[in-house]
Assembly symmetry: none
Homo-oligomer: 214 residues x 4
């Protein structure tokens, strides 16, 4: 389907002497992202289509295709900011509480805002068009994993966590169940789940002398 991964030029850096004429209409740009978010909220992922976005944003379809390669790319940009929100490195002093906090913040984002629907739709898209999966990981998965990795490394330094942990595995063990529930909807993403999951996983990663002391 699309070979271009995401968007075709975010115009963030005008670069050095970029042929001058590259001006992008900010009105249109914003209107497209806004229309996309609205449609997602109102109609659900399946009913978001380029024509509807263009029509609602009062924009030519060509203007969308000029800057994005496909529907998924537009949605990715529309939710990039949203999805990055609240991904702050917590510092409660306890790994268990840090993890619990980032998960609870994430659950709020996924269940109380349109972002959850958007991300599920995007994951769906990556299955239908495999060329999108890497861009999706970069945009929406990587940074939360990175924050989590930092929390874990800090725990190891403090002696709170066992040395020699396979951090990637631990991170998969944290986020896997989250997305599993998010996508299959067999159980809710609530605060209780965050607490239970973290307190369950923490056992496997705590330093043994801590365990001994209990």
């Amino acid at each position: 389907m699309s070979q271009q991964l995401e968007n075709k030029g975010t115009q963030t850096l005008p670069s050095v002497k970029e042929r001058a004429t590259r001006r992008r209409n900010q009105r249109s740009h914003q209107a497209i992202l806004k229309a996309t978010a609205e449609l997602l909220e109102e109609k659900g992922y399946g009913d978001v289509c380029i024509e509807a976005i263009a029509s609602r944003a009062r924009v030519g379809k060509q203007t969308i295709y000029r800057w994005w390669s496909c529907k998924a790319a537009v949605i990715m940009e529309a939710f990039a900011t949203q999805a990055a929100r609240d991904n702050l490195l917590p510092d409660t002093g306890s790994v268990e509480q840090d993890l619990c906090q980032i998960l609870q913040q994430m659950f709020t984002l996924l269940t109380k805002t349109t972002t959850g629907v958007a991300l599920c739709g995007l994951i769906a898209e990556t299955q239908i068009d495999p060329s999108l999966v890497e861009a999706f990981r970069e945009q929406f998965i990587k940074s939360r994993r990175q924050v989590t990795r930092t929390i874990l490394e800090r725990g190891i330094e403090r002696g709170e966590l066992r040395k020699g942990l396979n951090l990637e595995l631990v991170i998969d063990a944290i986020y896997g169940p989250v997305w599993y529930r998010m996508l299959l909807k067999h159980a809710p993403l609530d605060d209780a789940f965050a607490e239970e999951l973290v307190s369950f996983l923490i056992v496997g990663i705590q330093a043994t002398d801590v365990k001994a002391g209990s």
Copy 2:
């Protein structure tokens, strides 16, 4: 999209007084399922469409719609048998080994056969058409969770596992990371992963006296 969950009559049980006139052409039935599987393998999920299935199976589109409600329903049936394969209750005497074995068998299915692509595609479909998600869980998720639950319960009875475990949480902790990797493709589903994941999770579920004994 579809309100019908799956297929409209698999003719498995002639039932009581089947109205007699229920003659379904087995040639067509099989050809459709075969064509579906072939297309999935050859072209990928995105290029499987009803018209392509009908054309390849040399079948009228109506014949597909007569027996299934949508593309997803056809694919579900086409892979129902495949996906159920090897979901046997193992009995090695050790929960760790039991879990490892079912995961490794599952990984083979997901990575060495078309079934993996099919199931990822179906999960995608459930995001676009939410009415499908329950049927998907019933067909492809439930039975493996059940087998896993049995393994865990047996471990508790044996005293190998801690009492009072939230089994649903544990099962999410096992399968979540699997689907997370399967869908996002950031790391492989191989035997090493199965072993590492299980040996990591087992710590949190083992009975404490076992731990003490170690």
Copy 3:
């Protein structure tokens, strides 16, 4: 543009065992032709487009493309019947009166009905897409030339016209000025023009003894 000349199957003869399944919806067929004629009348040739025809006829665009190769082909069929109307072989006994009559009938068709606009538009189309010109001649030019040729041949047999006339040239001399005025609109196509033109041309084709006798 189009390689297909006109329409893709008028279904006039079901032929011998024509694969059976070729049924064409007469409701749609007629609705398309009707919508085309209406649009031509209401909006003029330049505003007739496939989308407008489809929309007005409450028909899918595909249904149009299934049976015709392009807009021009639809319009040709829509006006084929109209354009053939009144192309009867007159028989007044005099070549001059015969010619005058067919011209006056033609002028009525061209100036009092939508057919004139349609034919001018089609001639335009043949200039833009040269592959259409032959079909246009077959449909709209040939038969009137044939009738005219018959009138002239009859005149020769009767001794009314000179032998050895280049009939094709004479026919060009009759219809050329008609289309010239029709397309360039510098002078009207009225009964007076028909009479003047014919009485002017007749001199060049009359038998010399007739001339001498006058």
Copy 4:
């Protein structure tokens, strides 16, 4: 389509006090006309579009729209000079030979140069956008008719042609068949046709005593 008839200022006469700000880039002007002629020759009338002209002439589209109202206007200007070429008043002493000569010169222009394709395309355009037809007549039809009218009037003065001729009708009878063949392409525009047509028409316009004398 266009309400402006032709071009918006050909800068032929600098006039009195040209407002100073009238500097038109001659490089662009010529490049546009050249590109137009090339495209017409290479791709045919149907593929000439403003974007293609602009791109080939390395000119902004705006520069085209600033000086011309539509594609047709550009083409008209591009061929105005060409089309006027060889429209000289001949003077062989014989109307028949004069007419034959101007027709043969015209045929060369129409069949050996791109001008023929251009003029046919322009006639097509006048059918789709009726507001163009008058400009077309002024530019490409009028002057040849005028020359022809002069030839005929000279013939009348000389006593070679009958008095009281409807000259407009005669001129239609001369050029009608030419454009008829040019547009419908059912027969060639060659020297033989010019001779035959003229010698056919001359009979109807010759003075009767000339006829009697023969």
